[in-house]
Amino acid sequence: MAELTYRDAVIRGIAQEMTRDPDVVFIGEDIGKAGGVFKATVGLYDQFGPVRVRDTPISEQAILGAAMGAAMTGLKPIAEIMFSDFIAVCFDYIANEFPKSRYMSNGQVKCPLVVRTGNGGGARFGAQHSQSVENWCMMIPGLKVVAPSSPRDVIGLMAAAVRDPDPVIFFEHKSLYATKGEVPDGEIVDTLGSAKIVRPGKDATILALALMVPRALAAAEKLKSEHGIDCEVIDVRSLVPLDTKTILGSLARTHRLFTVEENPRLCGWGAELVSIAADEAFYDLDGPPVRITTPHIPLPAADLLEDIALPSVERIAERVQRSLQS
């Protein structure tokens, strides 16, 4: 057991898979010699060499297209898109190419690759370098979408993503890179499609993802100490596949549902989960489900503005308390 940053967990997760399988290769902008703009790939170039860890031009379409061509023909590429906002410039591969090749070819074409990308706000980067865009990917049949919140999950879910036979979009949260957590020694392999109850509780279920997980946990502690409200917090971890069993199981015990989403309001993943709850767990609910999200705005750069845009510990706690005690 060692304490590791989320950033170092990315390095260890990639290294674990590259050590295991010589067909795992890694490409992206500034990922090699420079060690990544977030320093989340430091040392991989030295460890695995310039053939397996390869710097690319600023050509997001070429990066994702090349990853796909390599995946179709036998490699297991990991491709980095530096900021998840840049997915928009290569969205053809995310939306049209990776996820449809198997279906359109009646199962002939395989696309086992991982796109890892820096997602989310909190760094004061403004509207084009701060978005939470996991919902852009969640809606596309054929993709898998994961977003770890802890160093241990980074390693385990990275392993699961690299070993998965489908294209996986792996959202790392930029504001979590410096956070620390306990990580066991040795190989860590998790499974895609499993949510994790990170805090058991009996009064309400709070669903959260990535940066919103530590905030939901802090809000739950605040609610407990200040109001005696005992919340269960679930780290959704994987949007596709989605672990509805764990979520609906929790709802059957707590009878109240809250989602904490960093994304702007419309079409967030929480909307899908609320819809599932309404459809399949309506009679378990003692009150209306509540979505706590960023407003439907582009993200501002100034710290005070960004802080009031993203769901905060205070806003989460206040909203849950208001719903449960009104």
């Binding site: 290769v25 053939v51 390869r54 690319t56 031009p57 050509s59 379409q61 070429a62 990066i63 994702l64 297209g65 090349a66 990853a67 796909m68 061509g69 390599a70 995946a71 179709m72 023909t73 036998g74 490699l75 590429p77 053809d92 591969y93 049209n96 190419e97 090749s101 198997r102 279906y103 359109m104 070819s105 009646n106 199962g107 002939q108 074409v109 395989k110 086992p112 049949p141 054929g142 898998k144 998965d164 036979p165 489908d166 499609g193 596709v240 596949p241 989605l242 672990d243 509805t244 069993k245 599932i276």
Partner: protein, 343 residues
């Protein structure tokens, strides 16, 4: 590399030149297969037996025949939505191509892909891509795998003149050149992107070749209607790729006889242009080539008749074939064979 402007006249006499009789007859047959199958696809449209859209290669047969004819087993083709020709040229059975166009269970992808997405991995046809430019980077990736693995296969990527003005073209060319990838980019310049002449919207005369220098590549323009010229250009580019010499970009001058798609009657063409190109019809030209090399008329007619019969038989087989089973609607979305996104 032969250029359009200094193309030599067909040599007379012996069949035992660098191409040889057996290869020439194969190149001819492939062109006739494409011509007959494409014409049949068009006829089946008119009978409403082919639905959706379709983009024919009538007039462009020599490009597909020449590049495929020079490939080895294991070489990979990446095609566009105008991909019937390149798929047939790799030896995919006519019945599977027509069956796919007709949405039958015997179709290449059982009707799940359609005309614009013909794919046959076992024949090295790694897909037909309907988003302009998308497959150039994908071909780079397949070539990267070959380079990484030390394999000697070449990835060959076909696209139209219109593709040269989209970003992915330029990203892929630079990427392939910088990484010295064994990939061959083949631009079929048929003079029209969709409805608009490519020259109206492009800053240079030769939309592919005149950009080659930007990526440190030689400028190559060839006669895309002469299967021998195409074949020789392909061999040279493949040899270079296999030897670690990196990518090639080859612009093939050709002409499509039909409109962009079935919805297009091609009324934008100047009068006489189609007729002028038909004087240099690739199949007519190649028949003359065969005769010049001493191939008898009976051998040529035999190939024509055999192909015609194959296409007729394939057509009847497709007409009689069952539609796809409805349960394939939700298969192969994910690698587990199904479409489940939740537990």
């Amino acid at each position: 590399m032969a250029k359009l402007e200094d193309r030599a006249p067909a040599p007379k006499g012996s069949l035992n030149d660098d191409i040889g009789e057996e290869k020439r007859l194969a190149l001819y047959r492939t062109q006739v297969v494409i011509r007959e199958a494409e014409q049949r696809a068009y006829d089946l449209f008119l009978q409403n037996l082919v639905k959706g859209t379709s983009h024919l290669s009538l007039g462009q047969e020599a490009v597909a025949a020449g590049f495929a004819g020079a490939m080895r087993p294991g070489d990979l083709s990446f095609c566009t939505y105008r991909g019937h020709a390149h798929t047939l040229a790799r030896g995919v059975p006519i019945v599977q191509v027509l069956g796919e166009l007709m949405g039958r269970d015997i179709g290449l992808m059982r009707g799940k892909g359609g005309s614009m997405h013909l794919t046959s991995v076992e024949h090295g046809v790694m897909g037909s891509y309907a988003i302009i430019g998308a497959h150039l980077p994908i071909a780079c990736g397949a070539a990267w795998r070959a380079q990484y693995k030390g394999a000697k296969d070449v990835s060959v990527c076909f696209f139209g003149d219109g593709t040269t003005n989209i970003g992915a073209f330029h990203e892929a060319l630079n990427f392939a050149a910088v990484w010295k990838l064994p990939v061959v980019f083949v631009c079929e310049n048929n003079l029209y992107m969709e409805y608009t002449p490519i020259s109206d919207v492009t800053a240079v005369k030769h939309p592919a070749a005149d950009r080659a220098a930007s990526y440190g590549l030689p400028r190559i323009v060839i006669d895309g209607n002469d299967a021998d010229v195409v074949y020789r250009a392909a061999i040279e580019a493949y040899d270079k790729a296999r030897a670690g010499g990196g990518p090639s970009l080859i612009e093939c001058m050709t002409y499509r006889y039909s409109g962009h798609s079935r919805a297009d009657p091609a009324k934008y063409r100047p009068e006489g242009e189609l007729e002028r190109w038909k004087e240099r019809d690739p199949i007519k030209l190649y028949r003359e080539r065969l005769r010049a090399f001493g191939v008898g008329e009976d051998a040529i007619l035999r190939i024509d008749a055999e192909v015609k019969r194959e296409v007729d038989e394939a057509t009847e087989q497709c007409k009689a074939a069952a539609p796809p089973a409805l349960d394939i609607l939700t298969t192969d979305v994910y690698a587990d064979g199904g479409f489940a996104w939740r537990n």
